[in-house]
């Protein structure tokens, strides 16, 4: 018996010691997205898109002559889970990480990847609160809240809107967007009639709706996610609010129409470019559909581009040494994407705004204008 145990222990040791040797002929990419919890569907869409890109890169010869493989860390859209996932990925010797959907969950992971000197490409999370926390290794390829606010204000001005009500949910993402909008909107000499905060999961918005309808602004801007946004839009319209309703990119989901019903007709959404609105994304969408049996999600395109960008950076740097890869990324002018060219500001955010304006029509989003 003892001998059997010894052999088993020896075998286990051999496997553990042997692991790095086996891993060396492959480069591992970490994927950090929520695969459980309320945002799990988005996370899965993102992980799928990264894996699709890896498959294509491998078919074309891999990176530095090596094949890529991926490992997923589940951040659950939760700061604590995200820290665990990031530590695990950092410890598993990944050459780079693609991930970050929820801003609130992504912020505490930046230091972990920074300390481990792992290049991080963030395809979705776009709160401006990420910028000062960035130790220098993280690159945001989704336009930030600043760009979204600029787009929103440009749209409001174009519609002759003078006064708006802003509603958020008090989390990192929606509050950031709301505060920025308020600041810039008022700086331009316009009026914010209401600045409201609601609880996540609340069903009754009647008090807020009365406060808004009594002030009667030209437009209402909801900066949080679709789930509660749908209920708010419905209650606003039921109580006879006639003005424009606009929502941020967190509400850009077909689910909004299920919840709000006909009330969502004509609602404006500011959104990052999703596959269905990019003619050049057709091949990507078809390949995605073929491999995963579903249409790509709202952040799939950016996740796919993020993986392509990381592979390009490692190939161009000619090494997986993180300092060189980060330097390459900083100077990137990468055009082999489906969401448009990628280059970075000194703050390591996307150098251009990628926001488009969508409008609800017949229970689906269509390009506005």
């Amino acid at each position: 018996m003892r001998n059997v145990m010894k052999t088993a222990a020896g075998l286990a040791l051999a496997i553990v010691l042997g692991m790095p040797a086996i891993a060396q002929d492959k480069l591992t990419i970490g994927i950090m997205v929520p695969t459980t919890g309320s945002e799990a569907t988005y996370g899965q869409d993102m992980a799928n898109a990264v894996n699709l890109a890896i498959g294509e890169i491998n078919a074309a010869g891999g990176v530095l002559g090596k094949q890529l493989t991926s490992t997923v860390g589940d951040d659950g859209c939760d700061a604590q889970l995200a820290v665990n996932a990031a530590s695990k990925l950092a410890a598993s010797g990944v050459v780079g990480v693609v991930g970050g959907y929820c801003s609130g969950a992504t912020i505490p992971t930046l230091k972990i990847y920074g300390d481990a000197k792992i290049p991080l490409i963030i395809p979705a999370a776009n709160s401006t609160k990420l910028i000062p926390e960035n130790p220098g290794n993280a690159f945001m390829i989704n336009s930030t809240g600043n760009d979204q606010v600029a787009k929103a204000i440009e749209y409001f001005n174009g519609k002759g809107i003078k006064s708006i009500a802003i509603i958020n949910q008090g989390d990192a993402y929606s509050q950031d967007l709301a505060d920025l909008t308020k600041k810039n909107w008022e700086a331009a000499g316009n009026k914010v009639t209401n600045f409201e905060v609601t609880n996540k999961g609340e069903q009754d918005y009647s008090a807020v709706v009365t406060a808004i309808t009594s002030a009667n602004p030209d437009a209402v801007f909801w900066t949080a996610y679709y789930a509660d946004g749908g209920l708010l839009i419905r209650q606003l319209r039921e109580r006879g609010y006639q003005g424009l309703i606009a929502v941020g990119d967190g509400s850009n989901s077909p689910e909004l129409f299920k919840i709000a019903g006909p009330a969502a007709e004509g609602v404006i959404a500011f959104s990052n470019p999703t596959a269905e609105f990019l003619p050049q994304a057709k091949a990507f969408a078809d390949a995605y559909q073929k491999q995963f049996g579903a249409a790509p999600g709202p952040y799939s395109t950016l996740s796919y581009d993020a993986m392509k960008l990381l592979a390009w950076a490692i190939n161009t740097a000619g090494t997986t040494d993180s300092a060189k890869v980060i330097e390459t990324l900083q100077g990137a002018n990468f055009t082999d994407t489906i969401s448009g060219p990628i280059s970075f500001t000194p703050e390591k955010t996307l150098a251009r705004s990628n926001f488009v304006v969508l409008q609800g029509k017949g229970g689906a989003w269509t390009l506005a204008q």
Partner: protein, 304 residues
């Protein structure tokens, strides 16, 4: 809108919201009064009630229509179904623990809450479910105040249910037994009261009221999801404490007060929606400071 119009509108909002809080708070308070258990799974019964009402309505709508009649029948059936679920939960999870330390049963209640919530998460895959009732948008306009028929029916049904419960507890034999058990369980048993049966009835009624609130919320707000019971459970518990936990009129009053505080808090300058919860919970603390048993709670008398 003038200040007066805003006032009447917020009053109406507060009454509607308060009716939901009150219905859910009643279940908390009844169960606490009889078995001294804070049933943290109660908010989840509201959620399950909403889904039960939705399922029943989708079965019944082809025969009864998705209007008032269909919703009413679904609500009654959902109340019965969830009432029995409440009894099953009591039998399986709470009954074996009734003589254990209070803390153990409290944790059991939390566990039941997680089981129900995550069970529904798995069943619905976290998706929102549109309720599918068609109640229309008609109503009566009084100046700038628009009261929809939905709101009238909702408040009316909530009021009728609460009145029915009050009559049940004050006039029937079971109600008398419930009050007796609340005072002294062991003595009631010695007096020949079937304590277990009465506890089962208490759970049935509390859960049925939560299911009624859940179905009405689904029909009124238009959608359901697995997490909808959490916040209202918390708020209803607060309402029950404001009114005096264990007191049935207290739960109704507490629900109404909390609903009104939230509505008016949203409109008050310096409070606003950002601080409305701070505002209403400050009131809770004040109530507890000056009247630790809640507004209508009776001080506990220890007789030697």
């Amino acid at each position: 809108m003038t200040i007066f119009d805003i006032f009447t509108n917020q009053l109406l909002n507060g009454i509607v919201l308060g009716s939901f809080y009150a219905l859910v708070a009643l279940g908390y308070t009844m169960v606490f009064g009889v078995v001294k258990l804070l049933n943290f799974a109660h908010g989840e019964l509201y959620m399950v009630g909403g889904f039960a009402g939705f399922l029943l309505l989708s079965f019944l709508a082809p025969y009864l229509g998705p209007g008032w009649f269909g919703v009413a029948v679904s609500m009654v059936l959902a109340m019965i179904a969830v009432g029995f679920l409440g009894v099953v939960i009591e039998r399986v999870a709470y009954a074996p623990m009734l003589s254990a330390p209070r803390l153990s049963i409290l944790i059991t209640a939390l566990a039941v809450s997680l089981v129900l919530q995550n069970g529904m998460l798995t069943l619905t895959k976290g998706q929102y479910v549109p309720f599918g009732a068609a109640l229309g948008f008609g109503g009566v306009r009084l100046g700038s105040l628009f009261i929809s028929y939905n709101q009238m029916v909702l408040v009316g049904v909530a009021g009728a249910l609460m009145l029915g419960l009050e009559l049940f507890v004050s006039r029937t034999q079971y109600g008398r037994a419930m009050r007796a058990i609340a005072v002294d369980k062991d003595m009631s048993r010695l007096m020949g009261i079937n304590v277990n049966a009465v506890i089962a009835v208490t759970f049935f009624l509390g859960s049925a009221l939560a299911a009624a609130a859940g179905t009405m919320a689904g029909a009124y707000y238009g959608s359901l999801w697995y997490f909808m019971g959490f916040l209202i459970g918390l708020k209803a518990f607060t309402a029950a404490v404001i009114g005096g936990i264990g007191s049935i009129p207290g739960a109704m009053l507490g629900g109404l007060i909390l609903g009104l505080l939230e509505s008016f808090g949203t409109q008050l300058p310096g409070v606003g929606s950002e601080w409305k919860d701070v505002f209403s919970f400050s009131v809770l603390i004040l109530v507890l400071v000056f009247k630790p048993t809640g507004l209508l709670g009776k001080p506990e008398q220890e007789r030697m």
